[in-house]
Point group: C2
Chain length 252, copies 2
């Protein structure tokens, strides 16, 4: 056997007393414990890593166009993506936002119906769709995790159908801010909650089924009411009165 200092790279994949180390690319991966990979042991992870490839996508670039062949899927490692449905005349609806740890791709289908675009510089771990599907047969825990996540996405989508179908502009904007707060809000020493808005006003409009102007006006309203605060044109927002925000989202 080669000594480890002689073949340090090879060692990563070698089997020592039945144990396998994580592949080098995965070892310090930010989403090793939250993405689908978290369902895998090191041996399984190696198999997945073998078909995976790290890619960096610059902000604004489209990862996959609606209508393209569904040839790949990926885990989001870093950054933010939007998933959009569009009409022939250009109307656009953001049907999902993707954050680190999320899975993206249309499996078991030869064509995509949605467009995926990077909102920030984004790192993904990308797989050939067919290779991934093939591996899925041998990784039941990952398949189960994917099933659970898909079900969660479906629930989320249904929540948003209620928003888009039945809520007014103020309720939609307030709900969006609260959702963000629940996902990634940081409570400050003064009790306010700091929220980073991952998308522009135009993005919020496309997400909420509104126009830019309406979103801007509703944010201004909430600010005037002392419920939130933000610097003019800023993507950083502070929730000053969460209770009132919740009253708006869930009226009697």
């Amino acid at each position: 056997m080669a000594r480890m200092d002689v073949l340090p790279v090879a060692r990563a994949y070698s089997d020592i007393a039945g144990l396998v180390a994580a592949p080098p690319r995965c070892r310090n991966c930010a989403v090793r414990d939250s993405a689908l990979c978290s369902s895998l042991d090191n041996r399984e992870l190696s198999a997945l890593s073998d078909i995976g490839r790290r890619r960096t996508i610059p902000a604004g670039q489209v990862v996959s166009w609606a209508g393209d062949a569904s040839s790949s899927c990926a885990n989001v490692v870093n950054g933010t993506l939007k998933v959009t449905a569009t009409m022939a005349d250009g109307r656009e609806q953001i049907v999902g936002l993707l954050f680190p740890g999320d899975f993206v791709g249309q499996l078991f289908s030869d064509e995509t119906s949605l467009t995926v675009t990077a909102l920030t510089d984004t790192d993904i771990c990308s797989y050939s769709r067919t290779a991934f599907e093939g591996l899925l047969d041998d990784l039941p825990r990952m398949e189960r995790m994917l099933l659970k996540r898909t079900m969660a996405s479906l629930n989320e989508a249904r929540d948003r159908m209620l928003s888009l179908g039945r809520k007014n502009a103020q309720e939609r904007v307030a709900g969006f801010i609260l959702d963000l707060a629940d996902r990634s809000g940081r409570e400050e020493h003064d009790g306010s909650i700091h929220v980073h808005l991952p998308i522009s006003r135009g993005g919020m409009a496309d997400y909420l089924g509104l126009t830019i102007e309406t979103v801007s006006r509703q944010l201004t309203n909430l600010k005037s009411a002392g419920i939130i605060s933000f610097a003019k044109g800023d993507r950083e927002c502070r929730i000053l009165d969460r209770d009132q925000l919740e009253d708006i989202v869930n009226p009697a």
Copy 2:
């Protein structure tokens, strides 16, 4: 061994040369080849059948309330159900319609967030959620089928997000009729397409994120334009000009 004419009932479950017959309840089931069960061989089907129970739900009755414990799931055998999300003040959005062969239930979750209601007298094959989840571990083909169906539902939900967020009333109503035509329309000898509307005007409103009056007016508009026809207040509808309907749904 007992001769088969001595124990005819037992024979259904007996193993003859390694083969198992389908459980009696399943043998003439209308959805044996389309529901999740279609992924199972007779032996597996027996295991599923053992934990299943046939129920008939009268039209109008709620099968499961949002907020209830998620204690069961089911295959739809016959009839139509609606899945709704509601707000505290009564606003309602239909997030899905269920037809024979569809699966219903929130797995891997202790509480439901959606209400399921029978629109017609409905037969379902109902399972304890935990028992079903347990069985899923041993039925990989069924799990895979469930995964595919959940993904399909997610795609459908995202399509509807585009409708609810970005389409006007006429486009939503026209799109709804076309979707129904694709699902269950019957082409007539004269080239028209016969479509049965599975829900009332109020149901269509709740499905499309509109009001009853707006739905009624849009249907009248389509009738006046000679694109569809229906008797006043009728749930049967004929598409006279499918191309024009498609032009409405997908404008340049």
